[in-house]
C-alpha cells in the first residue's frame, strides 16, 4: 500500500518540478523547494518509494505462491517492509535538507546507504530463504528475475556507494575522475536494467499468466531471455559516457552490448504478448489486463529506443536533450507504472477478499494513463530534437549559432505540454488510490495458505 502512497507523492513532486521548469519562481526563494533538491526527491520517490515497494510486495507475494510455502522469516520480512518505508521517508527529507552525494539515482548520503544495504540483505535473506525451503523442484521464472534483481542491486549499490564519510551529512566517493563516472553509470544503468526492467519482468512473468489464466507462451524462451538479459545488460552502462574521457573501446563495447540487449528484451515482450493473445475473453471483465497489455507496447518502445540512443551517431544529437527525459518516461510511465497499476488492480481486491470498488474508474484511469504517457513522450521528442539541432547549429564562420539561454527560452511551450501530461497521469493515479481506498475500506486482509502441490511434483 505504501507503493501507492509513494506513487502519488513521487508523481506530484514530478509535476511540481515540471511546473518549476515552466515558472521558475515557483520555488518562492526557498532552498528546499528548489529544482536541484526536488528533482532527486522525485526520482528517488518514484524509483525507491514506488518501484521498490511494489517489487518487494509482489516478490514476497509471488515467491510464496510459486514455492508453495509461507515466507521464510516473516518477522524479518515485516522489518524489511517497514524499514524500507522509513528509509525512503527520512531519505527524502534529507534530500530536501540538501544532503546529497551528487551521484544520480544514488544521491542519498552514507547513513542511508548503509541502512539500504542492510535492508536489502534482509530482503535477500527472506526471498532466498523462501526459495530454499520450496516444495517443488523447479524455480519459477519470475523468481529468477526477482532473484537477479536482489543480487545485482546489492552488488551495484554497495560498490557504487563506497565512500569516505567526513561528517554525518557529507562523504566523498572512493572513486575519482573517469573511474568514478564509469562506476556511477555501471550502477545507474543497471539500476534501470535490473530494477526497472528485470524486476518488473519478474512481476510480468508471475502476474500476466495469472491474469490471463494460461501458462507462459514459451517457458524455454523466458529462460533463454533471462540469461541473455543478465549477461548483456551489465556491460551497457558506459553508453551514458559517449564522447567523454573514458576509453573509446569502453564506449564501443557498451554500444555493442546495448544493441545485443534488444534481443532478450524483446523475447520477453513477445512472450508476454503471445501469452495474453489467447486470453481476450478476460478483457471483458478484467480492467487489470488492459494495463499490462499496453505496458508491453511501451516496453517494446523503450527497449528499442534505448539501444538506438546508445548508438554514437544518434547519441551525438540526443544526449543532453529532453529526448533522454522522454525516453526515461516512456519506460517509467508506459512500462513500470502501467504494469504495476495492472498488478495492483489484480492484487488489491484479492488481498482483502472483496471485488474492486469501481471497474469504471479503473477504465477511466487506463485512458488517462495512456493519454498522459503519449503526450509526455511526444512533447519531449519535439523538445529533444529541437534542442539537439540547436545546441549544434553552426553559423557561416563555424561558431555556435545559439546560446544556451536562447535555446532554453524557446522551451516553455513543450514544458507546458509536459506539465499537462504529468497532471493527466497523476490524476489517473489519484483515481486509482481512491478506488483502492473504497475497496479495502472496512475489510481485513485475508489469510491464505500457499497453494497445495500436485503430488507428482513434490521435490521430496
Amino acid at each position: 500500500m505504501f507503493a501507492v502512497l509513494w506513487a502519488v507523492i513521487g508523481m506530484s513532486v514530478g509535476v511540481y518540478v515540471a511546473a518549476e521548469l515552466l515558472w521558475p519562481t515557483l520555488d518562492f526563494g526557498q532552498p528546499w523547494l528548489s529544482f536541484g533538491r526536488l528533482r532527486p526527491l522525485h526520482t528517488n520517490g518514484v524509483i525507491f518509494g514506488f518501484g521498490v515497494s511494489a517489487l518487494m510486495g509482489t516478490a514476497f507475494y509471488s515467491v510464496q505462491r510459486t514455492c508453495h510455502v509461507p515466507l521464510f522469516a516473516p518477522k524479518l520480512a515485516w522489518f524489511v517492509a517497514i524499514g524500507w518505508q522509513l528509509c525512503v521517508l527520512t531519505g527524502g527529507l534529507s534530500l530536501l535538507a540538501g544532503w546529497t552525494s551528487s551521484k544520480e539515482y544514488a544521491e542519498l548520503e552514507w547513513p542511508f546507504d548503509i541502512a539500504i544495504a542492510l535492508l536489502w540483505v534482509g530482503f535477500g535473506i527472506v526471498f532466498f530463504g523462501t526459495i530454499a525451503k520450496r516444495r517443488i523442484k523447479p524455480i519459477y521464472i519470475s523468481n529468477w528475475f526477482y532473484g537477479g534483481l536482489i543480487i545485482v542491486i546489492a552488488m551495484l549499490h554497495i560498490i557504487n556507494s563506497l565512500a569516505i564519510p567526513v561528517t554525518l551529512s557529507k562523504s566523498y566517493s572512493l572513486f575519482a575522475g573517469a573511474p568514478d563516472a564509469i562506476v556511477q553509470w555501471w550502477y545507474g544503468h543497471n539500476a534501470v536494467g535490473f530494477l526497472l526492467t528485470g524486476g518488473f519482468l519478474g512481476m510480468m512473468y508471475y502476474f500476466l499468466p495469472k491474469q490471463a489464466n494460461r501458462p507462459i507462451w514459451s517457458y524455454r524462451l523466458s529462460i533463454v531471455a533471462f540469461w541473455a538479459f543478465t549477461y548483456s545488460y551489465i556491460w551497457a552502462g558506459p553508453h551514458h559516457l559517449h564522447y567523454n574521457a573514458v576509453p573509446d573501446w569502453v564506449q564501443s563495447l557498451a554500444v555493442g552490448m546495448s544493441l545485443v540487449l534488444l534481443a532478450p528484451s524483446w523475447a520477453s515482450m513477445i512472450n508476454g504478448i503471445m501469452t495474453v493473445s489467447g486470453a481476450s475473453e478476460k478483457l471483458k471483465t478484467d480492467p487489470a489486463l488492459k494495463f499490462i497489455v499496453l505496458s508491453l507496447a511501451f516496453y517494446g518502445l523503450a527497449t528499442f529506443e534505448g539501444p538506438m540512443m546508445a548508438i554514437k551517431s544518434v547519441n551525438a544529437i540526443s544526449h543532453f536533450t529532453d529526448w533522454t527525459i522522454g525516453h526515461v518516461h516512456s519506460g517509467a510511465l508506459g512500462w513500470n507504472a502501467l504494469i504495476t497499476f495492472g498488478t495492483f488492480y489484480f492484487l488489491v481486491p484479492r488481498l482483502v477478499g472483496a471485488s474492486l470498488y469501481s471497474v469504471r474508474l479503473a477504465n477511466i484511469h487506463f485512458w488517462l494513463a495512456l493519454a498522459g504517457t503519449m503526450l509526455y513522450v511526444l512533447a519531449m521528442w519535439g523538445a529533444g530534437v529541437s534542442q539537439g539541432l540547436l545546441w549544434l547549429s553552426l553559423d557561416e564562420i563555424g561558431e555556435l549559432s545559439f546560446s544556451f539561454k536562447d535555446i532554453m527560452a524557446s522551451m516553455p511551450p513543450y514544458y507546458a505540454l509536459r506539465f499537462v501530461a504529468g497532471l493527466i497521469f497523476l490524476s489517473g493515479a489519484v483515481l486509482m488510490t481512491f478506488n483502492f481506498y473504497m475497496t479495502i475500506r472496512g475489510q481485513r486482509t485475508i489469510e491464505v495458505e500457499p497453494p497445495p502441490v500436485a503430488s507428482h511434483r513434490l521435490s521430496t
Binding site: A316, A379, L390, L400
Partner: protein, 204 residues
C-alpha cells in the same frame, strides 16, 4: 465480395467512420490496387508539404531566426521522408497480416493495406501543418491527429478484420507497439542523417 474500394470512403471516414469500417469488412481489395490508387498518393503529400514549407519559411525550431536548408539537401530529405513513409506503410500492413494469424483475423494482404490507409488518413490531413514547419506547432497538431488515428485503429480493426472487440484490442495494442518503434526509428534515422551532414550545418 467487392474488390474495389471507392475514393469516397476516405471522405466519409471523417464523418461516419463506423459505416466505412463496416463497408470495408464486406470488401476484399487487391493489394496492388490499394497501393497504386491510394497509398502512393497519400504518402507523397506530407513530403511535398514539408518541402514547400521548409523552402518558403525555413525550419522554426524555436530560437531566433528560422533555419534554412540548402535546396539540394531539402530534396534529399523530402525524398527520404517519402520512402520512409512508404516503408512504414507497407511494413505495418505486412506486420498486421503476420499478426492476424495469432488473433484469428482476416488474412488477405489487401484488407490490411486498406486498414492502414484508413488509420493513416488523419495523419496525412495533419501533415498540412508541414506547410509551416514550426516544430512546436507540428507537435501541437499531431497530438490530436495521433489520438484520432489511434481511435480509428482501436475502433476499426475488429470490425474490418471481423474479430471480437477484445481480440481487436489486443491486436491493436500489439500494432501500437510496432508503430511506436517505427516512429522512434524515424527519429533516430533522422538525427543520424543530420549528423552525417545532410541538412542544416551542425557541428558533429
Amino acid at each position: 465480395m467487392k474488390t474495389v474500394i471507392s475514393s469516397w470512403l476516405l471522405f466519409r471516414l471523417l464523418f461516419r467512420p463506423t459505416e466505412v469500417f463496416e463497408e470495408l469488412s464486406e470488401t476484399r481489395p487487391e493489394p496492388h490496387s490499394v497501393f497504386f490508387k491510394y497509398v502512393l498518393w497519400l504518402a507523397i503529400i506530407p513530403p511535398i508539404f514539408a518541402y514547400i514549407g521548409a523552402s518558403n519559411f525555413g525550419w522554426r525550431i524555436g530560437a531566433a531566426e528560422p533555419l534554412f536548408v540548402p535546396a539540394g539537401d531539402l530534396v534529399v530529405i523530402s525524398m527520404a521522408y517519402f520512402f520512409a513513409l512508404l516503408f512504414v506503410y507497407v511494413s505495418t500492413a505486412i506486420v498486421a497480416q503476420w499478426m492476424a494469424a495469432t488473433y484469428g483475423a482476416r488474412h488477405s494482404l489487401g484488407i490490411h493495406f486498406a486498414l492502414v490507409t484508413i488509420i493513416a488518413a488523419p495523419l496525412v490531413v495533419g501533415s498540412t501543418m508541414h506547410l509551416f514547419p514550426s516544430i512546436f506547432l507540428n507537435v501541437l497538431v499531431f497530438i490530436p491527429t495521433v489520438m484520432w488515428s489511434m481511435y480509428l485503429l482501436y475502433k476499426g480493426l475488429p470490425i474490418v478484420l471481423r474479430i471480437s472487440p477484445e481480440r481487436g484490442m489486443l491486436m491493436a495494442s500489439a500494432l501500437i507497439g510496432y508503430l511506436l518503434v517505427a516512429a522512434v526509428s524515424f527519429l533516430g534515422l533522422t538525427v543520424a542523417l543530420l549528423g552525417r551532414g545532410i541538412g542544416p550545418s551542425i557541428g558533429v
